[in-house]
């Protein structure tokens, strides 16, 4: 069943390319744009990470992990017309055990143009580690991708259910506007704080470990940070 879900995602993507000229133009453009943005983010992350003390760098990478996670979950709303996300509601009539469904959806989410984003960003996180911490970063990356796939499908499922009713559609517009406002507000807040006290000061003033250490995406990156610091088994 896992293989069938992966095959389904491949067929949906392939058929979309084969029989839809808009996608034949749109997909390469989206892949190029997403690849370029991811590359810029990854190189920015690597260079900023190198300027910070080990403790600050750890905080920075966990903030980056949280930001990436939230951005990824919201991604289907942005690229909905170009990337097929398997809606779990469409699979509800099949007798699929939950673990196989989640595994299948996680693997399926890696088939498509959006895979370029986690490949580059998680790759950059593996790149900056040393020794065995690289292996931990790789494993944490797999866990991170699984978390993103689950959260993304939950979000897509909710949006998809909302779009089926008039009230839901009205609410979905508010959700999309909310995402836009949240992104703009977050950017202004972070930008303002960094301008005021610098990256190091902002990280010291707002340690993510104070309030989000147990959030799954932050915890996955924390394991990498602790491994890099030599604190094996601390997270």
């Amino acid at each position: 069943m896992v293989a069938e879900l992966a095959r389904l995602k491949f067929l949906l993507t392939w058929n979309g390319l084969k029989k839809d000229w808009q996608r034949r133009i749109g997909l390469p453009a989206v892949v190029t744009a997403m690849g370029w943005i991811s590359w810029k983010l990854a190189t920015g992350f690597i260079s900023q990470h190198g300027l910070l003390s080990p403790q600050q760098a750890g905080e920075f990478s966990m903030w980056a992990a949280l930001g990436f996670f939230i951005g990824w979950v919201a991604l289907p709303v942005v690229i909905f017309p170009l990337d097929e996300t398997l809606d779990p509601a469409q699979l509800a009539v099949f007798a699929i055990p939950r673990t196989r469904l989640l595994t299948g959806l996680a693997i399926a989410s890696l088939i498509g143009p959006s895979v370029v984003v986690p490949t580059i960003l998680i790759g950059s996180n593996v790149w900056i580690q040393d020794g065995w911490a690289r292996v931990v970063a790789l494993l944490a990356g797999v866990v991170f991708i699984a978390q993103m796939a689950v959260a993304s499908h939950l979000f897509t499922g909710v949006i998809s259910a909302m779009l089926r009713s008039r009230r839901g559609r009205d609410l979905a517009v508010l959700v999309v506007v909310g995402i836009g406002l949240f992104t703009f507000g977050g950017y202004q807040l972070v930008g303002g704080e960094v301008d005021r006290i610098g990256v190091s000061g902002a990280l010291a003033a707002h340690p993510i470990t104070d309030w989000a250490a147990l959030l799954p995406p932050v915890a996955a990156q924390r394991a990498v940070v602790e491994a890099q610091a030599g604190n094996w088994g601390a997270s």
Partner: protein
Amino acid sequence: MTASSDDAQIAINPEPQAADGVPQAPPAVWAKGLVRRFGKETAVDGIDLAIQPGEFYGLLGQNGAGKTTTIKMIVGLLRPNEGTAGIGEFETWKQPLEVKKRIGVLPEEFNLYERLTGSELLDFTSAMHGLDREEAVARRVELLELLDLSEAAGKLVGDYSRGMRKKVALAAAIIHRPPVLFLDEPFEGVDPVSARLIQDLLRRYTAQGATIVFSSHEMYLVERLCTRIGIMQRGALVVEETPQGLCERLGVDTVEDAFILAVGGGTSTEGLAWLQNSPG
């Protein structure tokens, strides 16, 4: 016709009684005290059902009566607020996988993968139901042929007409040969030739022991196909009877008349004087 359901004095049939000392097999489809609320509105209000194997059961009601909500709760697509439902010995919300293995569902609003071809959709459905590839292909070819979709088999489902989508969704619902089939408005938008073929197919299917729960507003089809009907009104099951028995009891000739009597329909249109003058 202005008679109300109260005037008709219709009662729901009691559940079938067990023979002396012999434990009776559980019904093919059952529900006990199903309730579903949406906000302050109660869409389904304490439904009890017991549908026996081999029955072709028609679930009827006006728009908004609660038919689709009831079916969704029985098949595991919508969680009830109260009550329980199941298929045979399995309870939908306690053993969902066992239930889903045994049912085929054609929902009212079918959400098909539009970027799969008809053939790919059926192959995917077969694989999800665990059919081996050879058998799946054989069944797919036969079903597409029967439903007059062979020529469109390689087209994307998104390019199908409404009737074609209904037919391919029906094929997906039956391809794994489930013992229980739920069909919500299966003939809506389907051409008469295909509709007749589907009727024959479904009748043969129940003759082999399968159970079909069928929701439709096409009363002539209900009359032709169903061995028993249940009529819902405002979330409650107000009538359960065979089509013939119901007609006899109400002294009418057709299921359509019986249905209108049962739900207290037949609002007068006399007030629409403006519509009774010549147009223009």
